[in-house]
């Protein structure tokens, strides 16, 4: 009996020792001002990127990105003009062609290499840790041979920047529950469908402002959306989408 218990304990320790999830806390900056803290939960085939629990954001304003390597699918929640959209995207890996660059630095004790990519019309520079071998995360990033610990947009307005501040281990298995909680009872749409909806929402808002009566004749205003990926260039680049009355 004692031998059996010792074997079970050994087996349990072995399993927990081999397969561990990782939690990484990032500070997310907007134009070099800290905006909100973010968390990455990293498992073997799955990563979950979401707002840090203790931020002041109400649940409705929280977003997430789930990368699943087994199904090659990215599940994400986007909020556009207070509307929630749940996107299932199987093309996310195809959009990320990384160029490895020679710069290195150490972040949270991990030696990091650098790389660049253009993801949906926004150029990013990242530092990743080859000693943490994963293709996943943070955010929608994937495809590098190590966890990205810092990412910075190089040309978008506003400038986005996130950098890891804490890495902790935790026992495997917790991710399944989190993924189920985030994905339960959601109506998923494809990325192409979302692009159409996104443009429609922005055009609707513009038209609503134009016809709403609060913009006097002769007055004009603009809608400018700062986002980490370009979906509707007229509303996201330059001065933004012009609304003239």
């Amino acid at each position: 009996m004692k031998k059996l218990l010792a074997f079970i304990l050994f087996l349990g320790l072995s399993i927990s020792g081999r397969s561990q999830d990782i939690q990484v806390k990032y500070q997310f900056y907007l134009n070099d001002s800290l905006y909100y803290d973010k968390m990455l939960y990293l498992g073997t085939d799955t990563s979950v990127w979401q707002d840090y629990e203790e931020t002041k954001l109400p649940n409705k304003e929280r977003t997430f990105v789930i990368n699943n390597l087994k199904t090659n699918t990215q599940y994400s929640k986007h909020i556009v003009m207070m509307r929630e959209n749940f996107i299932s995207d199987t093309t996310f890996l195809a959009h990320q062609n990384w160029t490895l660059t020679p710069e290195t630095k150490t972040l949270v004790g991990q030696p990091c290499n650098s790389a660049e990519t253009v993801f949906r019309e926004v150029r990013y520079k990242v530092f990743y840790a080859p000693n943490i071998p994963t293709q996943l995360g943070p955010w929608k990033f994937a495809g590098l041979p190590g966890l990205i610990l810092e990412a910075r947009s190089l040309e978008s307005v506003p400038l986005y920047h996130f950098v890891a501040t804490e890495i902790t281990n935790q026992a495997a298995g917790g991710l399944t529950g989190l993924v189920n909680k985030l994905t339960k009872d959601k109506k998923w749409i494809s990325w192409d469908e979302y692009k159409i909806i996104f443009k429609k929402i922005i055009d609707n808002v513009a038209n609503k402002i134009k016809s709403g009566g609060s913009l006097p004749v002769g007055a004009s205003t603009r809608i400018k959306l700062g986002m980490m990926e370009i979906i509707y260039p007229e509303a996201q680049t330059g001065e933004g989408l012009l609304i003239q009355n």
């Binding site: 081999r18 561990q20 500070q27 900056y29 907007l30 134009n31 070099d32 001002s33 800290l34 905006y35 909100y36 073997t44 085939d45 109400p58 409705k60 207070m82 509307r83 490895l100 290195t104 949270v108 004790g109 290499n113 080859p130 000693n131 943490i132 071998p133 994963t134 293709q135 041979p145 190590g146 307005v157 506003p158 400038l159 950098v163 501040t165 890495i167 281990n169 609707n204 038209n207 609503k208 402002i209 134009k210 016809s211 709403g212 009566g213 609060s214 913009l215 006097p216 004749v217 002769g218 007055a219 004009s220 205003t221 603009r222 400018k224 001065e239 933004g240 012009l242 003239q244 009355n245």
Partner: protein, 900 residues
């Protein structure tokens, strides 16, 4: 232990069509127990121990395939997997086009990777408590000229380009401060529209803003402010000039003008803003409003205790907007200066000066139905009104951060003089001249000290002294200045004053971030003397005093207020109770003459509770309800016992009474906002019950209207309901709105020696709004309102009613991005029973932005049909009042604007 499993098998193949691939390496990645290891990545380097990674690949399900694209003298492949170690595969001078097979067997890494938690250094800037700092270096691209241009680009900030109103996260911004200094108060748009962007370092959005630094993080005000951080040691002057000139086509052609210039100066130790404006085309560029007779406003909210303005000023406003009906000649000057000689001390001055000459030709026809007696009266007035006002505000602040102590002193004053001369024809027969002069001087001094007395507790003390003196003279003279004795000529003088000393001690304790208690002990002493003398001019030899008032009301109050606030995500509950001790003393200095007791006094203990609850359901629905009970003393205007002439017809007097008015009010509000379907609806219902009112005992003749006000304890009720439904129809690109409002109240009066009459007033209005957002060059807007008023009485007079309608239609044509032309058609039916009495106005406006961004021109044609007058119809419980007045004639204006 990594080894070349089974030896290195090199297979020489001619790899046609491999497209730039030099070598291919395949194999398995397992641990020493033969289990597949994943995730694992493969790093390709050109030497052992190199940092730079040349290429990479991944192992899936324990197998891998690496297609090497580069040419390497030495090929090093490292395998990375969590908790495993493995020596690299090293290939010296790998053969081109070769396929290698190599299995990696990983051994356990006994040192637990990532066991410790490592924290990086803290960032330079934080989203700290309620402040978000934007670093502007990333936003500016050189095209921004004014602060407003930058604000428009910041996420979360919206700017209304017409009004200058700024919203952050959908909430209206309370103040825009410069380096923490509030130069403009509520008039911040003057600054954001005019201050150059080149001196701005960064912008901060502050939630739960409090101008008082000690209250920061303790008082959850819910207010939002923006702070503009300026670059150090820079000075800047910027401004704009807007010059408009044209012609007004009245009986003769006159010159029209609309001129406006602003200048802003900003440096490290001072900030200033100045403005000059002049026009005669109905525009009001000032901070005053003498068209609609609003009280002068200060930049800061200050207690305004007005002395009694017994004689009302001439009314010029009609239902039309001021740019149609305001025949003016306005000159306005504004200057704001803030000096900060030390880090913790600042002082500022705001100056406003206005002079205007306003004109209106009016005719008022009143059809009286007083029981069996039906008669009409008429008044034709040619009014010339000259308001002049000089206003000064000053504020000094000192903050000691070491001792958490803050003190501020404010002075606000104005000196107003309104001269009004009216040529009057009464009942189409009698001609008079009515001269009215009102002088109004007001000053308030307020000092407030705040000290933090605990981690989450603050004590505050404030005291203010306010003085207001209003002197009025109204003289009705024979227009011909002849010695002919004319009945009704008079000279009325009223001098009134009000002095109030107010003090409050407040203790605010934020027990938890969701719960706070505020306790205030305060009081005031309010003195309001009034003296009035009415003289008849009937006897041209000497003025005979006919009515004299000389009295004074003193009120003293002590109160304790406790206010609890609970705020969760779904509920905001506010409960307060205010026990108050109030004494009143009325001293009639003419007691002997009038046979009253000289002094009347009264003391009351009042308990005033109130509850307010806001419940949010989901993201889209909220319900608000509040219940409140209060008791209040009447203002001194109901206390003078002898006649005062208010106009050429109106005479007023009171039977003084010190009893209180008791007010019980309830409110229920509902709001639904569905952004997904672009639909919103809201409704509110307010009911109030008032016990104790001063009611009018009217005596109406074809020449005079005498009202004597006396106290009646009977309850009156007031009910208002309003609803608004709005939908944007995306398929049609149209916004439609429907608004409905209803007001019902009852009131009592006496009419020409009748018994007590109970009257009911019912008014409702329905509005339909439709506007397009087509992508074509042409768009339209229409705004239709129909309203009805019914007044009925139990006292034997018939119900009187009127229904009116108005539609404002616009056609908007934008042939190019920089050119806009729009046409306005404003059609009015003041009385639907008299459709022949209709008024139509046409305006044509245009605007063109010159290619040089800081230049623009405009050409406007207003009142193209040259409609000369406008009529409004009102009903009371015994009369129908038809009011007509003249308007600004057809005029055009060419304007050119320049920003620097």
């Amino acid at each position: 232990m990594g080894r070349i499993g089974g030896g290195l098998l090199a297979i020489f193949l001619a790899l046609a069509g491999t497209g730039g691939i030099c070598q291919t390496i395949t194999g398995k990645i397992t641990n020493t127990r033969g289990e597949a290891v994943r995730p694992a990545s493969l790093l390709v380097k050109d030497s052992v121990g190199a940092v730079f990674i040349r290429e990479f690949g991944f192992a899936r399900d324990g197998t891998y395939r690496l297609d090497i694209k580069g040419n390497y003298q030495k090929l090093v492949v490292e395998v990375k997997a969590l908790h495993y170690n493995c020596p690299p595969l090293v290939l010296e001078r790998p053969g081109k086009g070769q396929i290698y097979t190599h299995d990696f067997i990983l051994v356990d890494d006994t040192t637990r990777l990532l066991q410790e938690v490592v924290v990086t250094s803290q960032p330079k800037f934080k989203y700290k408590s309620d402040t978000l700092t934007y670093d502007l270096a990333s936003y500016t691209d050189g095209t921004e000229r004014k602060i407003q241009d930058i604000l428009k680009k910041l996420p979360g900030i919206e700017v209304n380009e017409t009004t200058g109103e700024i919203r952050f996260k959908g909430r209206s911004v309370e103040a825009v401060t410069l380096d923490g200094d509030d130069l403009f108060g509520h008039n911040y748009a003057l600054g954001t529209k005019n201050i150059g962007s080149q001196i701005v370092e960064s912008v901060q959005a502050i939630e739960n803003y409090s101008a008082n630094p000690v209250l920061k993080n303790i008082e959850k005000s819910g207010k939002v402010a923006l702070n503009i951080q300026l670059k150090k040691l820079e000075s800047d002057y910027s401004g704009d000039i807007n010059l408009g000139a044209g012609a007004l086509f009245n009986n003769e052609v006159g010159l029209g003008r609309n001129l406006n210039a602003t200048l802003v100066g900003v440096a490290a130790k001072y900030k200033s803003f100045g403005m000059l404006a002049s026009n005669n085309v109905g525009a009001n560029n000032s901070t005053f409003d003498y068209f609609k007779l609003n009280q002068p406003k200060f930049n800061k909210t200050l207690p305004i205790f007005q002395a009694v303005r017994a004689i009302p000023e001439a009314i010029l406003a009609s239902l039309l907007d001021e740019q149609r009906g305001n025949i003016n000649n306005q000159n306005f000057f504004n200057y704001n200066f803030l000096l900060k000689p030390a880090k913790n001390f600042s002082t500022k001055i705001n100056l406003n000066y206005l002079h205007d000459l306003m004109a209106a030709d009016q005719r008022l026809v009143v059809e009286n139905q007083i029981f069996q007696n039906v008669f009409s009266t008429s008044d034709d007035l040619a009014i010339r009104k000259q308001p002049r006002n000089f206003q000064l505000e000053s504020e000094s602040k000192f903050y000691d951060p070491k001792h958490n102590f803050y003190v501020e002193y404010r002075l606000a004053m104005f000196n107003e003089l309104i001269r009004t001369k009216s040529d009057i024809v009464i009942n189409d027969v009698q001609s008079f001249t009515l001269n009215q002069i009102s002088s109004n001087s007001y000053a308030t001094h307020a000092i407030q000290a705040t000290k933090k007395v605990g981690q989450r507790a603050v004590a505050q003390f404030d005291v203010s002294i306010t003085n207001n003196r209003i002197n009025q003279t109204l003289v009705l003279a024979d227009q011909a200045q002849s010695s002919t004795v004319t009945d009704g000529l008079f000279s009325q003088q009223v001098n009134s004053r009000r002095q109030k000393i107010d003090f409050n001690g407040k203790y605010l304790l934020a027990k938890h971030r969701n719960f706070s208690i505020a306790q205030t002990i305060g009081g005031y002493m309010d003195t309001a003397p009034i003296s009035a003398q009415l003289s008849s001019l009937k006897d041209t030899v000497g003025q005979v005093p006919q009515a004299v008032n000389n009295l004074s009301l003193m009120q003293k109050s002590l109160f304790y207020l406790v206010d609890f606030q609970l705020k969760t995500q779904k509920i905001k509950l506010n409960f307060g109770i205010k026990p108050q001790y109030l004494t009143q003393q009325l001293t009639n200095k003419l007691a002997d003459r009038q046979g009253f007791n000289g002094i009347d006094s009264r003391a009351d203990i009042i308990l005033q509770p109130r509850v307010n609850l806001v419940f949010k359901s989901g993201n889209s629905t909220s319900l608000t309800t509040s219940v409140e009970y209060s008791e209040q003393a009447f203002s001194p205007e109901y206390l003078y016992p002898e006649n005062i002439f208010l106009s050429q017809r109106g005479i007023s007097r009171n039977i003084p009474e010190l009893r209180l008015q008791r007010l019980f009010s309830q409110l229920v509000g509902f709001n639904y906002l569905n952004l997904l379907h672009d639909f919103q609806a809201n409704a509110s219902l307010t009911y109030s019950n008032t016990m104790g009112n001063f009611i009018a005992n009217n005596f109406i003749t074809d020449r005079f209207s005498v009202s004597e006000y006396s106290y009646l304890a009977n309850a009156t009720n007031n009910l208002t309901f309003s609803t608004n439904i709005e939908k944007y129809m995306s398929k049609l690109a149209l916004t439609a709105k429907v608004r409905f409002s209803l007001t019902h109240f009852d009131y009592y009066n006496y009419l020409n020696a009748s018994t007590l009459r109970k009257n009911e007033y019912l008014s409702h209005s329905t509005n339909f709004f439709l506007k397009s957002a087509f992508k074509t060059k042409l768009n339209f807007e229409t705004d239709f309102t129909i309203g009805k008023t019914v007044v009925s009485s139990t006292g034997g007079t018939p119900s009187l009613s009127n229904t009116s309608a108005r539609n404002v239609a616009k056609i908007i044509f934008r042939p190019a991005r920089s050119l806009l032309v729009w046409l306005v058609c404003d059609a009015n039916l003041p009385n639907l029973k008299k459709l022949e009495q209709n008024f139509v106005f046409i305006d044509v406006m245009s605007n063109y932005d010159l290619p040089k961004k800081n230049w623009g021109v405009g050409l406007n044609f207003k009142n193209v049909l040259n409609t000369a007058q406008f009529v409004t119809v009102n009903v009371t419980d015994f009369s129908t009042r038809v009011f007509s007045r003249n308007l600004l004639p057809f005029h055009f204006m060419f304007s050119i604007r320049y920003n620097f």
